[in-house]
């Protein structure tokens, strides 16, 4: 797992909360910093892809492990 600057645990939250919380967390970071997100909503996999595509932030990593989903997003 790469280094990150902030972690967001969105476990147990459903659409659209993981995205909204991530947006808020990214707002506290500066460009180039990395946010690590943990989620349990299976829909978040596609949603974070779409979120990054539309906002220009970089989805560095997206993986599933033991029923949880992990994302690394680098703020643009």
């Amino acid at each position: 797992m790469a280094d990150f600057d902030q972690e967001l645990d969105a476990s147990g939250l459903n659409c659209p909360l993981p995205i909204l919380r991530a947006k808020k967390s990214l707002g506290t970071l500066t460009g180039g910093q990395v946010l690590h997100i943990i989620a349990t909503d299976p829909g978040s996999v596609k949603d974070f892809e779409a979120f990054c595509k539309q906002t220009g932030n970089e989805l560095m990593e997206s993986k599933e492990e033991g029923g949880k989903f992990y994302f690394l997003i680098k703020k643009v």
Partner: protein, 157 residues
């Protein structure tokens, strides 16, 4: 990249149908859209400070019942059924991590989603403006089109 715009008309005032406009508006705002919701007719209920929306299975054969149990329409009309179904729905939403409606509405306001109450239906139903959110503005069809006309997406819900 110039800012995209989303305009939504919210016309329904039940617990279930209050979700789509607020989910889409909050998400669009997170994606960088400038977003506006025009609340008209029963959609005005979503703007009430005292948010207490209900859901009913009446006229909605698509509503899933626990264990797919049959729920004849004549029983759905009994007193207390609406309150029971509403509380079941709220409980289910909480268990599944679905946002509380008032929280979702707060997130929209925080994200500067513009909320417009339809003046005509506010008058029609004698709704007290003081019963609606302080953040909402009042306007008519022309107000809606001022923003909708420049929007990339327009939704009627």
């Amino acid at each position: 990249m110039s800012e995209k715009k989303l305009a939504i008309i919210a016309t329904k005032g039940t617990l279930d149908w209050a979700y789509p406009p607020l989910i889409l508006a909050s998400t669009a705002a997170a994606l960088g859209y400038q977003t506006q919701i025009f609340f008209t007719f029963y959609g005005l209920q979503i703007l009430k400070k005292d948010l207490d929306l209900k859901v009913t299975p009446i006229g909605n054969p698509g509503m899933p019942m626990p264990g797919d149990m049959p729920f004849p329409v004549i029983l759905q009309t009994l007193p207390g059924v609406q309150a029971m179904v509403t509380s079941m729905m709220k409980k289910k939403m909480k268990n599944k991590g679905v946002a509380d409606l008032a929280d979702l509405r707060d997130l929209c306001i925080e994200a500067e989603v513009k909320m417009i109450a339809c003046q005509m239906t506010v008058d029609l139903f004698d709704i007290k403006p003081s019963d609606l959110l302080d953040e909402c503005e009042f306007g008519g069809a022309a107000t809606f089109f001022e923003f909708a006309g420049q929007s990339d997406i327009n939704l009627f819900i």
